[in-house]
Symmetry: C2
Subunit: 395 residues, 2 copies
């Protein structure tokens, strides 16, 4: 039993209540576009729509979220209906003839930004894979499968003709894709052959835990050379602590399935090391971007405190504790939990703020925009609630 | 004579001293790459090189700056030598076979980022046009002329094949290019036919002062529809106060040549209106980005205080006062001058900080990076010094 003074049952209830009584009702009330289909995500503090563009990442993520609630929490018809409402729109307008997913659409569904961004494909795969579990509709399975194959085909040059970097001069590969493929292979396991799942998962684990992981610092780098070496450049020096920590719970999920305790321990160690490195000792919270050599980062928003970074950290810490009983996970959980709950939830209009400045003040009062939608907060509340219940049963 | 309590002669001396005794020596001491040619611009607080990439915008701008000092201040051999040092490198490595200028190069000069950005071409044109005035070398004239023609050819689709926006859904045109062409046409007037200068200048003045200018708000929009109308989208609602104010001194320069006092008055009115709109009443300083409808902007760095925004504003206010004797220009000049001088210069290691947070604290301690080089600060010091001298002679 832990010596960290936390009432785990009460905490489980806190996360669950926030999900069902605050966050989900906000999106249910404000995000549905009944006229043209799909979801509005640009919602101001009160929930008013301040922009009607539809970003494919966020459309896919909201389909996934409501499908996942339906599959994993309760078979509520209104959740499935919400997921299908988004999927009808996205199937019709989201991709080009080759099955590449656009980055964004206007309210009516006309494409605004070309499919330069492979994460649109990733979130579409997640969405339709999860939706298929709810509907059994083979069309949904087919979209997920075809898109996943497309991702694997494109993965060595994800931006295609929109890639502006000249690889001959400085070849680099990015962390985001292997990271998300860890999660994606589990998400659509039911649609793939056992061999493809295993080979993809094994390759991703190696990439994340050996190639992008830097043993000397104990940190994960955002970009490395094709040989997995350090590149002394802006991209090569870049750290994204939230990214690294989020990927660690993907790895823990995979390691749990594979019953690989050593891998779990390594993922927990990286989580804790990244958190110590990324924590702002002066104002609290986790930095958005850092430079591994301490040079000034290129990203002007480097010192901001973002919602997803903090809620993903809560998941990794709780899963880490559940799987290892490492007390440090709970000590850090309490610290990040206190920061998160005292800064992000909006006590007046509900839901959570997304963007705080370094000092922890609200930088943008929006509840959703181009990047924040109905995804990280509810997914984290669900994951933390369920994990806290498991921990409290174990104690 | 003004009633605003300012000692204009002393101020002129302050700007001149800062240029010659602080800013120029910093760049002369730290930016020259004697091994591979060109300039380092990624300099930390002390002037140490923290990254060796060479950004074509900043290479071109530094060539321009030293050429301009040579042409307009004093024929110092070391200034011309510094300009030629950059130009030798840039002529050799800066462009592809079609004369399109890369965005960035590595230290040795190998291209890193494709020529997707037409402002690389603009700053190359400025550089070689000004350098030609110093050298009389026809090769320099030819580079400037050919690049300028290339810009005019590409101006309707500046990003070429790297453009990710689907124009059929939401056609928009941007303010940056007509804005910079105002300045560029004057810069290389000596290389162009009188007709081309006049037609370019007239077209740009109309674009800036009528098409992008929004009469209802008195503000300049960053993007409008091809018909010059408002687009209710993130891009369409975007304001960049520094951009708008900087362009007003380009317009004043053109209007002075054309002896168009009404145009000068309009440029001064827009300067003052933009400044009132963009000024942060709470912490002082001018915001980086705003939304014309007050919606949350997409740019996470929207509330930061950037060096170039403030020093360009000082130029516009002084030129505005010189040309109109509007007292409001001097009242605002005093306010922006006080903010600028108490926040941006580094009293310990010299030169100026570039990036402050909303509160006015240093966000990044660099003296130069991907976007800040040897350009805005020394150009503004030169412009303010010269303009203050003219004003004080007039009084």
């Amino acid at each position: 039993m832990t010596t960290v003074p936390l009432d785990l049952k009460l905490l489980a209830k806190q996360y669950k209540d926030e999900l069902f009584n605050n966050v989900l009702p906000f999106w249910e009330a404000h995000s549905r576009d009944d006229l043209y289909g799909g979801y509005f995500t640009c919602l101001d503090r009160q929930g008013n729509v301040f922009d009607t563009d539809k970003f494919v990442w966020l459309q896919g993520r909201q389909i996934w979220l409501f499908s996942s609630l339906y599959n994993n929490v309760e078979k509520r018809a209104e959740w499935l209906d919400m997921a299908l409402h988004g999927a009808d729109f996205l199937s019709k307008y989201g991709h080009d003839k080759e099955g590449n997913w656009y980055f964004s659409l206007n309210r009516e569904g006309k494409p605004l930004i070309q499919p330069y961004n492979i994460f649109s494909d990733c979130f579409a795969t997640m969405a339709y894979g999860q939706l298929y579990k709810a509907t059994g509709n083979e069309e949904h399975a087919l979209i997920a499968k075809n898109t996943f194959e497309n991702i694997l085909r494109k993965k060595d040059n994800p931006k295609g003709k929109f890639n502006k970097a000249i690889a001959e001069t400085r070849p680099l590969k990015g962390f985001s894709l292997p990271m998300i493929l860890c999660n994606l292979s589990l998400e659509i396991e039911h649609l793939l052959s056992k061999e493809l799942v295993e080979s993809t998962v094994d390759a991703c684990i190696t990439e994340v835990m050996e190639v992008f992981y830097d043993e000397a610092s104990g940190l994960i780098r955002e970009n490395v050379t094709p040989e997995g070496c350090f590149s002394n450049s802006f991209d090569g020096r870049l750290l994204n602590p939230g990214h690294a920590i989020e990927s660690m719970w993907f790895i823990m999920d995979l390691a749990e399935l594979k019953q690989n305790q050593a891998l779990i321990e390594k993922a927990v160690a990286i989580t804790l090391q990244t958190l110590k490195h990324g924590w702002d000792e002066q104002y609290g919270g986790i930095f958005y971007f850092m430079d591994i050599k301490g040079a000034p980062p290129q990203q002007l928003e480097w010192d901001q405190k973002l919602w997803w970074v903090h809620v993903e950290t809560l998941i990794s810490l709780l899963k880490g504790y559940l799987l290892t009983q490492n007390e440090e996970c709970l000590i850090w959980f309490k610290k990040v939990h206190d920061y998160t709950w005292s800064h992000f939830p909006d006590p007046v209009y509900g839901e959570w703020f997304g963007y705080l400045n370094r000092q922890g003040e609200v930088l943008l009062p929006l509840k959703g925009g181009k990047w924040k939608g109905c995804f990280h907060v509810p997914r984290a509340l669900l994951q933390c609630w369920k994990t806290l219940e498991k921990i409290s049963e174990m104690e």
